[in-house]
Amino acid sequence: MPDKTKERITIIRPEHGWVGINFSELWEYRDIAFVLAVRDIKVRYKQTFFGAAWAIIQPLFTMVIFTMLFDRMTRVPTEGIPYPIFSYSGLLLWQYFSQSITQSGNSLNASSNLITKIYFPRILIPISATFAGILDYIIAGLVLIAMMFFYQYSFSFLIIFVPVVLFVTWILATGIGLWFSALNVEYRDIRHALPFVVQIWMFVSPVIYPSSMLGKYRWISIVNPMSGLINLHRMAFLHTHPPDFRGFLLSSGIALVIFFSGLYYFKRVEKNFADRI
């Protein structure tokens, strides 16, 4: 064993300003990201009666309630798509996104015992927090597929965009997670703001109503990166209208800006975490 470590020398010195990302180090510590994500998945439904069924229960019941409210009572126009499957296809992606930013945004504070006792690239904490939700997405996705059979939708080639949308959503959620988790170390306001942000954000996203309903508030769906993602996600499954790739590209652009700025901010303040948390 000593042979492989002979040349290995670590130099610790004061750090100032922005520190670049050390990819080889991230790779070296990849096991930590893995065990943290596995821990989150395992812990999530421990000591629950319904277990992983919770991944389905949440979006399903939200869909039922919204169906009663917006379909039966107010008749939201859904471009010819039955309301239940319309809203469920939106809620499915939304649930992944909202869960990921909540988990990720609180992840550093929740791991304060690790941060003050052990060294590893801190960035793995908010990043690994956005992985656990993918399993929930897959479980809840099975219900969407069942609904597609029920409403007699077939699969088209557009289905290949599902992983693409999911990947961009992951980038966006991770970017927001990086921002919020790092801010949360310094300002505990974030913990209180997060649930509120998630709630408002859902109502300005085309989760339970179509973007076309926004009318003169259409700018909202342009600045909100989730709009393009939810719309393409829906069309990738239901393909009733030509998908809006321009909206998707715009969303992806915003997601990348948030991701890289989040990365920059995180790396700037990372060195203070252990002293401030």
Binding site: T5, I11, I12, R39, K46, Y119, E186, Y187
Partner: protein, 418 residues
Amino acid sequence: MNSAIKIRNLSKRFNLGEIRGYKTIRETLQNMFKLRMEKQDVDYIWALKNVSADIRQGEVAGIIGRNGAGKSTLLKIISRITGPTEGTIELKGRVASLLEVGTGFHPELTGRENIFLNGVILGMKRAEIKARFDEIVDFADVEEFLDTPVKRYSSGMYVRLAFAVAAHLEPEILIVDEVLSVGDIQFQKKCLGKMQEISTKAGRTVLFVSHNMSAISNLCARGILLDHGKLIYSGTAKDTVKIYLEGVEENKTKKMEWTAPDKKYPFMNVVKIKRFYVKDAKGNIPSGRLFNSERYDAIIEADLLQSDGRLIFFITYYSDDGTLLFTTDAHDTGEINFSQVSPGPIKLSVPVPVELFANKSYQIELVSALHYTGWILPAGNESMMRFEFFRDVDSNPYSNETRLGFLAPVLRWKLSRL
């Protein structure tokens, strides 16, 4: 021999505001405004100042010093948990740090799951853990409970499992903070043995912080003494321990009296500790020589500013080598309840149990805390005083000065005819 750890002019500064606690956005805005208006100086302290040292490959080095001397900060910088303000450290090889037992343990996960989680967090690869899994389980002695969530473990089992994982790390440099103070004696011995084995057999460098001076002198070859953030001595462990113990009490002729310096202690809104001293039956404060023919009281004087039921005072006795002998608590008799003591100056006194001590040197220390909230004076603080004990009246005609053991309690022997 090469140095495994090369420390050069290392300094670490903390802003006092950072220590105080976290802030909200509103406070930051307020501070920005304030700074611009008043241009006030920011208060800071140097937790470490210009520390340089070399630790050779395969050396076991003990770091000693009082609370607040900078020991933990030094370990945290070497472990890369926090960065230095000035200076550099050069490390050769893989570093694993054990600053807490069971870092990353998740209460909902089973023992088996936590072994993997904790092992990876401490820096093992999953394959390594798999290879050593049986060994770890064996060392911890928890086979039957492997699939039980650790939240159902007893604290002893928890510590054993946590230490077992850590003991099977194989880094080139192992950094261990005061973690051995938990767990039963039997297990502590096992852990110390394991650490010794790591250093002697595998030639690994170990850096070790402890308040247990006998553990330091037994385990370490090398000692480093820190005081107020500065390295004041470095040499063999035995010499370092000696200098530390001498320095803590300055000298034996000093009166057994400690007056709290005029500085900030935690929870000053609850209590201000003023003085801690020993007095004899005539009311005089003795110098560091106590006799079993005399009666003494240990006395604490303080200003109580709030009636707070969490307030705790202990007096702890140590042997000369720093082994904790016993602790007496102001609550022991159940008669004192600080939630019912109205604010104002108070005096607590407790007899010094002279019938317990042998012809040896001891140390006495005042420890104080808010229960489950935080330390006011944690163990190893500056109130520590040393005294030499003399059994000047002894009914035992064969009494000798070199009796074994730390204490020599006089117990009632009876003889009767069968």
